[in-house]
């Protein structure tokens, strides 16, 4: 008899966990997945591609229905988990169902932050989070609306690009003096700005949203410095917040996210969490890669094998067509590190490699990310790069040849 395992959330972390479990503990668990979105799990990262018309909604589906079926997974989508009853060891859903578990995995992800500014609740203020948001935004774009995107991070840039590509008149406003300040240094951010502007997005930096004007619907955005931007819609893409309310109500320990240990176990027995809703060693990740690593660890743990998650080396990939951006590790070059720089503005290339103690510790790539994965691998492995230092900037092919010589 298989042990009932319930996963709350039908996102990328959940899909990966099922995949990993099927590899190392096939048949051990009877898995049920509860998700509120009305469709099969999809690659959220590619939503901006759908917005930009570069992928269809179907194409971003992670796995076909048969895949889930073959792994004996019960899929309950369009169903929101509303409560966890630890005593009864069951999850209640918005459809009134009670789903029993012996092990519970919370993978509820995160939600887009809405800035607490006056007018933030006006009609025409949106977020960009799931496939339903994409449909809304596409509608704005086809009507050639004037859209202000708030937030110059990964999400904001992708939304702005997608909207512009789909036909909207887009202004992106960002609080900080440079785009993606948590992933990019100033030169990279400047180049990125140029490149995104070339794609038809207006960008305003040091732009603090003071209020949104409109009688019924959005009419304009006022900045703290007094500037006003006419707008038909505002998209908040200024950060995310882990979805923890369900856990909190079940008295599972929550800090910013649901607190987990190196086995992804929460403070409550038999309850685990992973992905953007989880907080590991004080960090809530907002990227898919850590969620995947966590899924691997959790699957092994659930299979009864030793496994530990010790944190992720972060890397960022921006998906704006023709504007590749990658950032990983100590991209700001901390003390005691050395920097290799390559700058080719017209080609749209900026590359920075950070080296410390003979190993690659950080990288920022704009415009040319062909070797991003190789750099990431080098950062993660901490391999000695002394022999390839002279060539590594120019890609793996050259560097490997140099090493062989």
């Amino acid at each position: 008899m298989s042990e009932p395992l319930v996963i709350i959330g039908n996102g990328m972390a959940a899909a990966r966990l099922v995949d990993e479990l099927a590899k190392c503990a096939l048949g051990r668990y009877a898995i049920a997945v509860i998700g509120d979105e009305p469709r099969l799990a999809y690659n959220r990262v590619l939503l901006s591609s759908v917005l930009a018309g570069e992928a269809t909604s179907q194409e971003i589906e992670l796995k076909p229905a048969a895949w889930w079926r073959d792994r004996g997974v019960t899929l309950k989508y369009r169903a929101t988990a509303t409560a966890i009853d630890m005593a009864a060891r069951e999850v209640t859903t918005s459809t009134g169902k009670h789903v029993s578990f012996s092990k519970l995995v919370i993978a509820t992800g995160s939600s887009a932050l809405r800035l607490p500014v006056p007018g933030g609740d006006l009609k025409g203020v949106h977020v960009f989070r799931d496939s339903r948001d994409v449909d809304l935004l596409l509608e704005l774009a086809t009507q050639r609306k004037r859209v202000v995107v708030v937030g110059g991070g990964l999400l904001g840039l992708e939304a702005a690009y997608g909207l512009a590509k789909a036909g909207a008149d887009v202004t992106l406003i960002h609080l900080m003096d440079r785009l993606m300040e948590r992933q990019l240094d100033a030169p990279a951010a400047n180049l990125l700005k140029t490149l995104v502007e070339r794609k038809g997005v207006r960008i305003l930096l040091n732009a603090n949203t003071a209020r949104i004007h409109g009688s019924d619907c959005v009419e304009s955005v006022e900045l703290a410095d007094g500037r006003t931007l006419d707008a038909d819609a505002v998209i908040f893409a200024a950060g995310i917040r882990p979805n923890t309310s369900l856990a909190k109500e079940a008295e599972i320990p929550v800090n910013r996210g649901i607190v987990v240990n190196d086995q992804m176990a929460t403070g409550t027995d038999d309850v685990f969490a992973l992905g953007e809703c989880a907080e590991h060693r004080g960090t809530c990740y907002g990227l898919v890669e850590p969620a995947y690593e966590q899924a691997r660890v959790l699957a092994r743990h659930l299979a009864g094998k030793a496994a530990a998650y010790t944190g992720s080396v972060l890397s960022t990939n921006l998906k704006v067509s023709g504007v590749s951006v990658f950032s990983a590790g100590d991209f700001m070059a901390g003390e005691g590190s050395e920097t290799l720089l390559l700058n080719d503005v017209r080609r749209g290339t900026y590359k920075k490699l950070v080296i410390a103690d003979g190993a690659l510790t950080g990288a920022v790539l704009v415009g040319d990310t062909q070797d991003a994965l190789w750099y990431l691998e080098l950062i993660r492995s901490g391999a000695d790069i002394s022999d390839i230092r002279a060539e590594m900037m120019f890609g793996r092919a050259l560097a490997v040849r140099a090493e062989a010589a």
Binding site: E338, T339, L340, L341, L342, N343, D344, V345, R346, R347, T349, I355, D368, R389, A390, E391, M393, F394, G395, A397, L398, R401, A402, A405
Partner: protein, 901 residues
């Protein structure tokens, strides 16, 4: 080699480089360039060309040409002026100084690159009309000792043999001649003789040059001891019954005294070995070979001539040939290899301070004869100052007006820094030139006159075997460039001598020159081309190469002199000369412990004003260097591939180091070519002692005492640019022609920031940069229209990049995105290994490519040639191919490493 389109019209002309005088077929491309091929019909080369000649098509650009007369204006800047104004100024300057200070205060300094007609008019103007014999020439640096030696022995400056002797000899003795590099086409002829007829080759040189083949006898004697070797030979021939007694008795004088002297200098094999530093067995072998081989040609060049005892060296050689009667016979003769395309023409004209004209000197009879022929109002009556003394007189203010034509004395003369300083003192300093800028022009010239260059000018030149060939024009005269004879004649007219200088063509001048050679000759002077004095303009245009003498009324060609024992002294006898005991005039000391030998590299010519324009020729040896023996290198802390500072009593240089066993201990070797136009701190002429031969006045360029210390540079790099750039001060640089522009190889010890600041104004809107500050690496490229406009690569000396891959992209019109991606790596992106430094300049085959072929089984130069074509044109790289084969056999791994470096 440039391909020749058979539909285009080819002009037959003569190569402007060495004294071999090869025939060239030049086919203009209609855009100012020309395809170049060897002329199969020319007897000097029979279709062959060397690497330099083959690349002539790459040297025709007008980019750096002087195209208009220029004069220094009051603010010190050079400004374009009309020809008339420039000529007026020159004439006035000469007139004024002659009037105030006499004719000895004016001088011409000419060049072995001038045509005979230019030479003739210059010589006539100075010696017949201005009244001075201060006409000297860069030939003084080249073969003056041979001239003096010939005159002492033969009573005339006669080259007795001809090129066919090289085909017919059984023994070829090369003394002080790196013919493989400096006379490649003749060297190939000698090799062909060796291969087909089994001729033996002996090379006598303090350096083991590429002229030394595997199976040749190499005599690496101590510098300056040639006279001892040939004295020893003379004594050996006498002691071993190898003399031609009847020839000696009937046709020579001075034999006994000369033999006594020879015995004093080196009376035996043992004494010879001791005096020369050679092994007795090698000396004995050479003597035995010479004795036993009637058909022997002794060829000599700068190693003999450029010496304070050069004339004695020449006579020590001639003594051996006279004593055996091996002179002017098929395959048996002494043979002076001339360095320049028309040094011989200059000698025929008399364009040297110690000759008057047409092989006549300053005897009263000759002076009178020439005066009458020229109807000269002010005939010079005594010798003028020879080159080194001429510039010393300029330095002392005794010569106040100088007209330099077609040469670069501020680079090429000994103590060249002093020469440069002297030039700045002149009242009037006129330069007739092809280029706007060179060290001489920049030494304070007041007037620049644009001369015609090769391909534009028309007239005659004479090669080492007395063969007069036409240089013909196949390109239009650019800008306002005019023939030198025209400029000289115009000045003569302004001085009031118009009637004697009313020349309208080179043919007209040639006829007068021919007439003078025959004037009252009667067989008393060797140089006689009277048979050509009535040549029509048309016949001059189509004149085939012809060997002199061409006496009027005789149709029988004469290829050789003196087999009949008829010499040109009054008694018709040759003279044996008793040479001084060999001794260098300078001493090494603790401060100057080594001696500096100077010379040439294969693919450059003189001061590079022409060869320096060819990207192909720039690839063989791109940088000025010094060769040093490994033991000396170890003693003085000098590292192969590093740099060294050379100091003599006269100047300083910084050169790249090549540690080589081919160099003998105690001797350094540095090439003469580089100068302030082409490199920083590499004016080797500035190091050379201004010590001259008492008879020829030729300077000793090959034995200056010198000190060497390491000069370490932390950084190494290069610049490629579409236009010439000025390097930052203090940087060691060498300029190299590259396809599409100009390259600079750099060494320095400044910081990256200096380079960034230097480059900043050159980087346009479209630029890419790479830096690794921790390693001191900075690279930047500026693009224009998707091609590279300028680039700088600088980094630590250790592991410095080769520029081959970048040069290739620079040469391309556009750089693809893929190429641009890896461009700043300096590595070839396609994974193909770099071809390496060019070894075969004719076909552009690199060292790495050759090493690959060797690794793949090519075991002989011929097999490499069959595979890669390398060595199959001029053949001058064959010694290097063989060396690569030998090295790869000895140390396969190390060779690869060297090749990759």
């Amino acid at each position: 080699m440039n391909a020749v389109d058979p539909h285009l019209h080819a002009t037959r002309t003569t190569c402007p480089y060495c004294g071999v005088g090869c025939g060239v077929l030049a086919t203009p491309d209609g855009n100012g360039g020309a395809a170049i091929a060897g002329d199969p019909a020319h007897p000097a080369n029979l279709g062959r060309l060397c690497s330099k000649g083959s690349a002539l098509g790459e040297t025709l650009s007008l980019d750096e040409r002087l195209l208009h007369p220029m004069m220094r204006s009051d603010d010190g800047e050079m400004a374009q002026v009309a020809w008339g104004d420039a000529l007026d100024h020159v004439a006035e300057g000469f007139q004024k100084v002659v009037a105030e200070h006499g004719p000895s205060a004016v001088a011409f300094y000419l060049s072995g690159q001038l045509l005979t007609e230019d030479y003739y008019v210059a010589n006539k103007l100075m010696k017949g009309f201005l009244g001075s014999a201060n006409v000297d020439t860069n030939s003084r640096l080249c073969m003056a000792s041979s001239v003096a030696g010939h005159k002492r022995a033969f009573g005339a400056d006669t080259v007795p043999g001809c090129y066919e002797d090289l085909d017919q000899a059984d023994l070829l003795v090369l003394v002080g001649s790196n013919a493989a590099w400096c006379h490649p086409v003749l060297y190939q002829r000698m090799l062909a003789n060796k291969q087909t007829r089994g001729a033996r080759i002996v090379v006598i040189d303090p350096r083991r040059t590429d002229t030394v083949g595997d199976d040749d006898l190499f005599l690496g004697l101590k510098p300056g001891t040639d006279t001892a070797l040939f004295s020893g030979l003379f004594a050996y021939l006498a002691d071993n019954a190898a003399l031609d007694r009847s020839y000696i008795d009937e046709h020579t004088s001075g034999f006994d005294d000369a033999l006594v002297r020879a015995r004093t200098i080196a009376g035996s094999v043992v004494a010879t070995a001791k005096a020369t530093g050679l092994d007795e067995i090698d000396v004995a072998t050479f003597f035995q070979m010479f004795k036993a081989t009637p058909r022997v040609v002794t060829l000599y060049s700068q190693g003999v001539n450029q010496s304070a005892q050069g004339t004695d060296k020449v006579n020590a050689i001639l003594n051996c040939h006279l004593a055996t009667g091996r002179i002017g016979k098929p395959g048996a003769s002494p043979f002076s290899l001339t360095g320049q395309p028309n040094a011989m023409g200059g000698r025929e004209v008399g364009g040297l301070a110690n000759q008057l004209a047409a092989h006549m000197g300053f005897t009263p009879v000759d002076i009178d004869r020439v005066r009458r022929f020229w109807k000269a109002p002010h005939i010079a009556t005594h010798e003028g100052l020879k080159a080194v003394q001429m510039f010393e007189a300029i330095g002392r203010g005794e010569i106040r007006v100088l007209w330099v034509m077609g040469t670069n004395p501020a680079v090429s003369l000994p103590d060249a820094d002093a020469v440069r300083a002297a030039l700045s003192k002149l009242d009037l300093f006129v330069v007739s030139e092809n280029v706007r800028s060179n060290d001489t022009v920049n030494a304070g010239a007041h007037v620049l006159l644009p001369a015609l260059a090769w391909g534009e000018k028309s007239g005659t030149v004479t090669n080492s075997e007395r063969r007069v060939s036409r240089q013909r024009s196949f390109l239009r005269a650019p800008g306002e460039a005019r023939p030198d004879w025209w400029a000289l004649s115009e000045v003569a007219k302004r001085l009031g001598y118009g009637a004697s200088f009313a020349y309208t063509s080179a043919a007209e001048i040639f006829r007068e020159h021919a007439a003078l050679s025959a004037f009252e000759n009667n067989g008393n002077r060797d140089f006689d081309i009277g048979g050509l004095m009535k040549v029509s303009d048309e016949a001059f245009d189509t004149m085939a190469p012809v060997q002199w003498p061409v006496r009027e009324g005789t149709t029988k060609p004469q290829a050789r002199f003196f087999a009949d024992g008829q010499f040109y002294a009054n008694d018709r006898r040759a003279r044996f000369i008793a040479p001084e005991a060999p001794e260098l005039r300078t001493q090494v000391s603790i401060e100057r412990p080594l001696r500096l030998n100077t010379g040439r590299v294969r693919d450059q010519w003189h001061t590079m004003t022409r060869t320096g324009l060819s990207p192909r020729l720039g690839q063989h040896i791109p940088e000025p260097f010094v060769d040093i023996h490994p033991d000396d290198a170890a003693q003085f802390g000098i590292v192969d591939g590093g740099h060294a500072r050379l100091t003599t009593d006269y100047g300083e240089c910084v050169l790249r180091v090549i540690v080589s066993e081919r160099q003998q201990r105690g001797m350094l070797f540095a090439p003469i070519h580089w100068n302030d136009e082409t490199a920083g701190f590499a004016r080797v002429g500035g190091l050379v002692a201004p010590i001259t031969d008492p008879f020829s006045g030729q300077p000793e360029n090959k034995a200056t005492p010198v000190a060497i210390v390491p000069a370490a540079f932390t950084q190494r790099g290069f610049v490629l640019s579409r236009i010439p750039l000025e390097m930052p001060f203090g940087v060691q640089w060498a300029r190299v022609a590259v396809t599409g522009g100009v390259g600079y190889l750099l060494s320095d010890s400044t910081d990256v920031e200096t380079w960034q600041n230097w480059l900043k104004p050159l980087l346009g809107d479209d630029a890419a940069e790479y830096e690794d500050v921790g390693q001191g690496v900075y690279r930047a490229v500026s693009f224009k229209d998707d091609g590279i406009e300028t680039c700088l690569f600088i980094g630590p000396t250790e592991g410095a990049l080769s520029w081959d891959a970048v040069k290739e992209l620079f040469a391309a019109e556009t750089v693809s995105d893929d190429q641009r991606r890896t461009l700043l790596s300096g590595k070839s992106a396609d994974g193909a290994a770099s071809a390496g430094p060019i070894v075969c300049a004719c076909f552009g085959v690199g060292r790495n490519t050759i090493c690959d072929a060797i690794a793949a089984g090519a075991g002989t130069a011929a097999e490499i040639g069959a595979k890669l074509k390398a060595g199959t044109n001029c053949g001058s790289c064959i010694p290097e191919l063989k060396r690569l084969i030998a090295t790869s056999e000895a140390e396969p791994d190390q060779q690869r490493k060297v090749a990759a470096s």
